[in-house]
Amino acid sequence: MTAPLLSIRDLHLSMSSYDGKAHVLNGIDLTVNRGEIWGLVGESGCGKSLTGLSISQLLPSPPADYMAGEIMLEGRDMLKLPRPELQKLRGNRIGMIFQDPTTNLNPAFRIGDQLVDVALAAARWKPGILDCPPGAGRSERKRAARKLARDMLERVGIPDAGMRLDSYPHQFSGGMRQRVLIAMALIGRPDLLIADEPTTALDVSVQAQILKLLKGCVADYDMGVILITHNLGVVAETCSHVAVMYAGNIVESGPVAAVIERPEHPYTRALMASIPTRDTRRGMLRGLAGSVPNLITPPPGCRFAPRCPHATAACMTGVPAPVRVGRDHAAACIHAKEPETAHV
């Protein structure tokens, strides 16, 4: 059996700040295979972005301190790789998209030149992406990279892509800049794409188009994707799998259909109950009182217990281990039960 694309085991991360040391990732386990789109959901402050940044090793230490665990990318531990190796991996195998497009495009350079640079750098390790004969000269490679840049802009739905290559970032709207960043993340054909709230700032129709594009790319390039979002609707529409995060733990994970049809963790249920459906009567939205705890002094035991309607004394003792509740479906709750085998 080949190693999974990404396998995170028992990852613990703390972040130091002025107020103290926060235990922000508290034993994360996550496996992503090629062809899978994992939605990472949860309220803000639950550790979704830090999980993404840990995979790509973009957190400076200090403040970041990895206290335990491993992050294996096809069998190699990102936490143990020397810097040059890491940079190579980051540039070529891991693509990243962040929420705010203004911070990630260089305002001084034309869009096309920025895309061409990324494509040429990636082609050093993956010559195939340029579609050039071996031994092609520099100018030929550059021409091919420019064609690839235009194709990618077209794929992400930018009209007149050929002309737009010569535009500067400020000439694009926010939605267009976000599409450019998506093109930039995909142009090097990464094996793993980490997209952190890539469509949160976009309109519903643009969002739908971009999510469709992501799905298409997963199929075409056989990538794995981690899609960080706080929108369960987006997860339901786009993802094959979902991991629900609460206060530094993955509290439930599994195939999207299973988790949404049979959520077993009270937090997952509460998140779902917060979204009005067509049958929700006025004033009857259930929601979830309280807020994500401070992680400098997190509650003992299950971190969700203080907000959980089903919490018992037993919940305060020790972090609950994931319980298998269905095929590939687990919930980290001491009240979750393994179903009868006939059920699975």
Binding site: M272, S274, T277, T280
Partner: protein, 270 residues
């Protein structure tokens, strides 16, 4: 019962001379012959993508923007024709809550000062002295689910949801009849959004408020609103009762939007 409180009558707004992508200046028709009416006590939803003209319409209602043509009527009065004194009185009756609870609260002011400021601005209409203003601030805070212990704290000490509650308390301070809510929950987590939506329902029942609720989230509008209008590139493409628009949309645009709504429903507990 179905008395009309706010009427937008054939309003158009053209912005002239904004520089375009290639340096040409062109006109932006931000609103094209928009007509709609909001009844007393109802929640009216306005749904559209960014750039469709929602904020321009809101600014026209608040008279921060003069329509190029058409009229805005509040209880039958043409807002374009009011005297300064009438306008001041009106400003107390129409209040707004913005999308971003972080940007819309002055970080240097205490909650007390934030919530009592509109009472000071409208002191001629309200006639409250200093002590009464503080008392009213405490009342308003408890109405939105906060307490007297929060009175002398500053915005940075609050979560996003709590800040939006403070914004709502501030909007309620001059005793308005109409609340314009411009994407009030878009920046919040779903769990917090649910709390704020429930608060809005509760406040409407208690105070008999009328809501003009702007959103890009159809699910939220379906939950909160009685009627809605869909705006696309400055034009109202469809409006009606929520129930009928959602069950039998008449335009292609409405059908596409409604068709794209994801449904996430919690199954009954096992």
């Amino acid at each position: 019962m179905s008395e009309i409180m706010l009427e937008i009558d054939d309003v158009s707004k053209i912005y002239a001379g904004k520089r375009g992508m290639f340096g040409r200046s062109h006109m932006v028709e931000a609103l094209k012959h928009v007509s709609l009416s909001v009844r007393r006590g109802e929640s009216f939803g306005l749904v559209g993508e960014s750039g469709s003209g929602k904020t321009t319409l809101t600014r026209s209602i608040l008279q921060l923007e003069r329509p190029t043509s058409g009229r805005v009527l509040f209880e039958g009065m043409d807002l374009g024709q009011l005297s300064t004194a009438e306008m001041r009185w009106l400003r107390a009756r129409i209040q707004i809550v913005f999308q971003d609870p972080y940007a819309s609260l002055n970080p240097r002011m205490s909650v007390h000062d934030i919530v009592t400021e509109p009472m000071l601005i409208h002191r001629e209409t309200l006639g409250l002295n200093r002590r009464q203003r503080t008392e009213r601030a405490v009342e308003l805070l408890s109405l939105v689910g906060l307490g007297a212990q929060h009175l002398y704290r500053h915005p940075h000490e609050f979560s996003g949801g709590q800040r939006q509650r403070i914004c709502i308390a501030r909007a309620l301070a001059p005793g308005p009849d109409l609340l314009v809510l411009d994407e009030p929950t878009s920046a919040l987590d779903v769990s917090v959004q649910a709390q704020v939506l429930n608060l809005l329902c509760e406040l409407q029942d208690k105070l008999g408020l009328t809501y003009f609720f702007i959103s890009h989230d159809l699910g939220v509008v379906r939950y909160l609103c009685d009627r809605l209008a869909l705006i696309y590139r400055g034009e109202i493409v469809e409006q009606g009762d929520c129930a009928s628009v959602f069950d039998a949309p008449e335009t292609e645009y409405a059908r596409a939007l409604i068709g794209a709504m994801p449904e996430v429903k919690v199954p009954p507990a096992a």
